[in-house]
Symmetry: D2
Subunit: 285 residues, 4 copies
Amino acid sequence: MAHGNWGRWGSEDQRGALNLVDESARRRGVAAMRRALPVSLGLPLRAGAAPHAAIRPDVQHLMLRDGGDYAAGLPERPGLGYADDMLIVACHGTTHLDALAHVWRDGLMYNGFPATEVTSRGARKAGIETVGPVVTRAFFLDLPRDDGSPIGAADVEAAVAATGARPEPGDALLIRTGWLARWRAGTASKTTWPGIDRSVVDLVDRWGIALVGADNISVEVEPSGDPGCTLPLHVALIRDRGVFLLELLDLERLAELSATTFLLVVSPLNIVGGSASPVAPTAVL
Amino acid sequence: MAHGNWGRWGSEDQRGALNLVDESARRRGVAAMRRALPVSLGLPLRAGAAPHAAIRPDVQHLMLRDGGDYAAGLPERPGLGYADDMLIVACHGTTHLDALAHVWRDGLMYNGFPATEVTSRGARKAGIETVGPVVTRAFFLDLPRDDGSPIGAADVEAAVAATGARPEPGDALLIRTGWLARWRAGTASKTTWPGIDRSVVDLVDRWGIALVGADNISVEVEPSGDPGCTLPLHVALIRDRGVFLLELLDLERLAELSATTFLLVVSPLNIVGGSASPVAPTAVL
Amino acid sequence: MAHGNWGRWGSEDQRGALNLVDESARRRGVAAMRRALPVSLGLPLRAGAAPHAAIRPDVQHLMLRDGGDYAAGLPERPGLGYADDMLIVACHGTTHLDALAHVWRDGLMYNGFPATEVTSRGARKAGIETVGPVVTRAFFLDLPRDDGSPIGAADVEAAVAATGARPEPGDALLIRTGWLARWRAGTASKTTWPGIDRSVVDLVDRWGIALVGADNISVEVEPSGDPGCTLPLHVALIRDRGVFLLELLDLERLAELSATTFLLVVSPLNIVGGSASPVAPTAVL
Amino acid sequence: MAHGNWGRWGSEDQRGALNLVDESARRRGVAAMRRALPVSLGLPLRAGAAPHAAIRPDVQHLMLRDGGDYAAGLPERPGLGYADDMLIVACHGTTHLDALAHVWRDGLMYNGFPATEVTSRGARKAGIETVGPVVTRAFFLDLPRDDGSPIGAADVEAAVAATGARPEPGDALLIRTGWLARWRAGTASKTTWPGIDRSVVDLVDRWGIALVGADNISVEVEPSGDPGCTLPLHVALIRDRGVFLLELLDLERLAELSATTFLLVVSPLNIVGGSASPVAPTAVL
């Protein structure tokens, strides 16, 4: 199904599969909560805390004002001391939500928007500021692959079935591949990782999944085995279907809690023209 | 009530009044939803889109790779084009949640932590990474002040009463002062603004409010009229009580929707040692 | 003389008129020294110390480690305290030397290199790293224009004649328009300024000038009066002739010293693919 | 000789041994030129082109506008296309000149200035903006140490003698340890390197050397073997004597040219309060 969802929500649509997240999907998310327990799925932002491609700089956190300044006697405002800081972060360099403007093929992005809409001034179409908060139900699928083998449709179907819930349009899948845990242990490759393979795309279509997340760099298995396309599922999901990807998630706590389904809230920063936003998604169990 | 909440949740506590946001507070937030309609309260991140103190640089959004590169014939990966970008942002320079490590007085932060815990390496105590997602009920109080006059306890009580709901421990107050709307119209001062005055602190104590937000730079009215203390409510709320402040909110849509009470989800980036995090808080009406 | 110097130094040449700065030009610079007195022509790098176009962020200087950290008791290395810092600077946002890759017209840069050689990865041709140190003789021309009127060939010729020296190939012209002094006094426009007009281009050709500098944003007068071309002298000098421009110079001290001719040393940072480099040019009087 | 030069040039002096670089020193530099051949000693600025301590981020060069934008059809100014860019650089993360404010011991910097003069706002004393252009004579000493062994006074004396020139007050020493060449070859350690040892300090005193540079991270050998002091020669030279250090030089071309003595011009950016400046020093042979 090439260009599966182009035009489905109108020729000017920039939100893709998030159109499936309607009021009933959001209520389904709320209904999936059991203990109203919030869990952050965001990695720490600190240089060295997440792997990233060479194109992307390490995150930097810099203090503009701190307690040391006062200890050093810097005269400040009456009755108040304060700390102030800034952040330099690659939008894809920590836990982040990809915008639909992130990828293209044959010069076209999701919904046929030309790639030339993305210049040094940012994306004029399908930038992250067009997304808004995502509030929906998510399935947590704990499918660690120590051998880097791909996670296929059968694996996903079995794991979903084990939750006892049935996916419905607008739901999200959050898949733990075990890669982050191994990266932290110093035993993971930074250039290959386990992830979903192409067979999962059919499930996404069948179920109407709006968002897929994982604890690795690209959600999809790397390498994909497709010589003609780098990151073929980025093309199939983001570009052809407008399905959103949530990458570099920290899903360790969900695994400890044996999470199944729950409310997911992801609210990207409104970076105008951004190809992604760093986020700390919230699972509410 | 000086140092009102120091020690209340233990001598090592770093989460302050967020301890009041227990399961029942979160369930109260969920119960306040009517239409499950999510609204982002985050400003656009774009140079010039938000005012800030001179110490803080404008936000910068920079492309590392874009569609123009492909148009220019830059050879890229097989079958895939992509955009990549980075963000340079003052943590307090757009919509943000202050960490308790943001302010101190007489060398002490919330819970008596010395200000010297905050150095160029960031905050070792009460940094934003200790906060985690905030999920609670919020009251929206539309109290525009065209004349810059302070918003007092009587104003807040009346506006809360008008919602028909009764505040309970762990709730949040989001107050629209009208300053952002005037700033956008080019008629607002960047050095003075309306906001709450000290009388509101008693309400915060009485009701057990965990978080106060506003559509201005500091939540509190500026100038405060207190010659001995810059930002006296930062001291009273953040430092003495561990109450969180959410600043530079965009509350215009809530005003248009005549919002009253709803679910609020705020999930700061886990900036290790950060004195704040840029956020796009989500109101779920 | 369109594309005046294209091909003059070979079809692959990236250094343009700097080819005119040969050993005799350098020796002429050395011979012009009188007191061997070095003067920095670089502006202070500090937010607010230089005007810049809206596209360019203010310079930021951020400390990574400082004396306050030690005052705050941060344990550091044995027997040593140190400060460490970083700089965020627009390459054209302070005193800088433009690379020949900075401008193009009709899709072509100096020597016919296509503009598409400049992508998000930087300039593959004529980037600032191809320039190397400039060592030559410079003429200081003090031609303040309080009324913003252009500086023409007759003005330049008269001022050069007054130095008693005769320009030769490879020399530099540094022109004080008085704009920086007025900007510091708060009386200068940030969108219009005095500078050279097109008649000066003929002198550049006749004399073989390799570099022209000024104490304004673009060397050339703004507005130029040419509706068909923004910054027409950038096109005529950089793109057509490979002549280098040195902008936002601080020439106040040269004026105080009544400088005439002297040794000029400008050594750009080897920013790979850069369209400019911040520099602190040195006049040795 | 503890605190060797404190007070020597007055209690408020911030330029240290550069006071030795008087007119005769500068003329000596000029006289040392043979071919008037300029050589940049600056490393390329590009992520990965220089090693640095973990505290320091990689350099980043980012395009604000480029030829791809035009290829993508972005409407721009009439008759002009242009590239614009910015640089994020650790001041000590590439070829740089240390300010005297860079180090301290027992809370005191050069000339007894308290370390507390250096806060998040930068250095109020002895910052790099107080230095100005350095114009003097330099000796090139090619003393490669493949085994990482220290370079001592005898080595330096012999190499200086071999040049046939006699050091005089205000001269500079530029020492090639071979470490950069090995780092480029992938065979150098990033935590240990050859460099000068303490015996060289006596020569610096005896000769009146104003500046010492090398092709390694810290000029001095690492480790120093002094358990009580990290970087003991930073303390002895910068802090006690006000002698300047020039680090991460690219001296390969000087070695190829068998350079001996020549004119050295180093002009730091006037970073207000900076603890160093990235520079591209110029040797004029």
